[in-house]
């Protein structure tokens, strides 16, 4: 569904994207995980036509985004990182304008608006002005808007940034539902738990390069299943173990405080890049 070959993008001397090769299959929920400035947003902006490609090739649904941009865009829905709704217009008007931009006829727009607002649980806010909505409701509306023209690929750029945990969970379940309905999802995030919970496959992105791509489970299993964090004179040290028994056995007879926990994606990212995602 998405094929990226040797993608590069520079801003002056800064290489924002540095030779990315990647394929995303239809129906997959794929995540780009990396710290701020890793190149996630630049990649998603290139894929959705907001930023010009530096070099390399990108195709979506078989359409090259440089030579067939309109055909490629018809297949895509985008939820950008910043809220970009028309705050002066109503919920319904925002969706209607989007439908028109994608060439939907009046009947289809009307039906789709009703369906989507029920889907994202905003049916009671149809005629509210967007500026009257909370941050979480705006995020749900943005997802609804991106789904308006029934895209085959949905791009979500940091979809839950700045939202409180409860609202974040609601957005996650919505995203899962969209994927279960057959839409390919390409997600960028710097929230570890978001990638772990949602993604079928994850790429770690660091300084514009992909350092690893696999399922979250495989990426974590390379280290083990259990981790022990220990603070000593050299700072925090973490050791990894395949079983809980091995880990508890390790702590027996040793001084100091230990924290036993499950391995998560942050550990895998740290092991591969030497830095934390949220550093």
């Amino acid at each position: 569904m998405i094929k990226i070959t040797k993608l590069e993008k520079s801003y002056g001397k800064v290489r924002a994207v540095d030779g990315i090769d990647l394929s995303v299959t239809p129906g997959e929920l794929f995540a780009f995980l990396g710290p701020n400035g890793a190149g996630k947003t630049t990649t998603i902006r290139i894929l959705t036509g907001l930023t010009r490609i530096g070099s390399g090739q990108v195709s979506i649904g078989g359409h090259d985004i440089e030579t067939e941009p309109l055909a490629a865009k018809r297949l895509c829905g985008l939820v950008p990182q910043n809220i970009n709704l028309d705050s002066e217009l109503s919920v319904r008007e925002n969706l209607d304008i989007h439908g028109r931009l994608f060439g939907m006829d009046a009947g289809r727009r009307k039906t789709k608006i009703e369906d989507l607002l029920a889907y994202v649980e905003l049916a009671d806010r149809t005629h509210s002005l967007v500026k009257q909505l909370s941050g979480g409701l705006k995020r749900r509306l943005m997802i609804a808007r991106a789904l308006m023209h029934e895209p085959r690929v949905l791009f979500l750029d940091e979809p839950t940034v700045g939202l409180d945990p409860a609202i974040r969970r609601r957005i996650w379940s919505l995203v899962k539902r969209v994927q279960q309905d057959g839409t390919t999802i390409f997600l960028t995030t710097h929230y570890i738990e978001e990638a772990e919970f949602l993604a079928g496959r994850v790429s770690f992105l660091d300084q514009g390069r992909i350092v690893a791509t696999d399922t979250p489970e495989n990426l974590m299993q390379q280290l083990g299943h259990w981790a022990i964090d220990r603070v000593n004179g050299e700072g925090m040290q973490t050791q990894y173990f395949q079983t809980r028994e091995e880990a508890t056995q390790f702590t027996t007879g040793q001084d100091g405080g230990f924290t036993l926990r499950r391995v998560h994606l942050e550990d895998a990212f740290l092991a591969l890049t030497g830095k934390k995602v949220l550093s």
């Binding site: 959705t48 036509g49 907001l50 930023t51 010009r52 941009p69 309109l70 055909a71 865009k73 018809r74 895509c76 985008l78 950008p80 910043n82 809220i83 970009n84 709704l85 028309d86 705050s87 002066e88 217009l89 008007e93 304008i97 989007h98 028109r100 931009l101 994608f102 060439g103």
Partner: protein
């Protein structure tokens, strides 16, 4: 075509929500000019055998159609850099032509509304002018020039503060010097040559001639059309530059 309608419709919906404020904003400057030059100074200035208002009202129409059509520049700039709404258009499968045409038509609509406000405000002053098809054609041509320039500038000039500078250094001087408040024949010949390079000068000529029931010059329309096409082309090409 769908994209063009969507872009235009969005601007019209925003205009609908802001209608009262927008209308009041459009009325303030012309009303002040009409009061100042109509009541306060009306007897001091003559335009041939007619009152100065006969000269002034077509000039105000030219000026307002310019400033109102150009004002979409600020709205597009704000939508692009502060609200990120422009990304919605960039990510949609619409051509640059659809986008630019939608915005330019929105600018022209706004200008027509401002002109209607001036004509209504002029009624109590008892000035009878001719508002036939040639008059409206000249207004549309002038609005086309400056709405196209506005879209191009909104794409090329990023900082909002620089947008204000454009108005301060280009639009405001043109508003006063483009044959709006005084006949060009009153200035030295070298200045006449310079001022004849301004599109607004030709818009003022065409609008005034048609409003006074005289024959409008074809050359004025051709110059407006040429400038409009040039700025429209610039706008089309600057939309691509906005992708970074």
């Amino acid at each position: 075509m769908n994209g063009f309608i969507a872009v235009y419709l969005r601007e019209m919906l925003i205009l609908k929500y802001r209608f009262k404020r927008q209308l009041a904003g459009m009325a303030v400057s012309p009303l002040l000019y009409l009061i100042t030059f109509g009541y306060a100074m009306g007897d001091l200035i003559r335009f041939g055998d007619q009152s100065y208002l006969h000269f002034l009202i077509p000039g105000l129409v030219a000026m307002a159609s310019m400033t109102q059509s150009f004002s979409i520049s600020t709205d597009i700039n704000v939508a692009r850099f502060y609200w990120n709404i422009f990304e919605e258009f960039q990510a949609a499968p619409i051509s640059n032509l659809s986008y630019v045409a939608g915005e330019v038509l929105a600018g022209i609509t706004r200008a027509l509304l401002a002109v209607a406000v001036i004509l209504l405000l002029g009624l109590p002053f008892g000035v009878v002018l001719h508002y036939g098809p040639v008059f409206w054609l000249a207004v549309v041509a002038n609005s086309f020039v400056f709405a196209s320039l506005a879209v191009a500038m909104a794409m090329l000039v990023k900082p909002h503060a620089d947008q204000s500078l454009l108005t301060a250094f280009i639009i405001t001087p043109m508003a006063f010097l483009g044959g709006t408040f005084f006949p060009l024949e009153k200035v030295p010949e070298w200045a006449q040559i310079l001022l004849s390079c301004l599109p607004l000068t030709h818009a003022s000529h065409a609008i005034r001639a048609s409003a006074l029931g005289q024959q409008a010059q074809l050359i004025d329309f051709l110059i407006l059309l040429g400038a409009g096409c040039l700025f429209f082309w610039l706008a089309l090409h600057s939309v691509n530059r906005a992708r970074d």
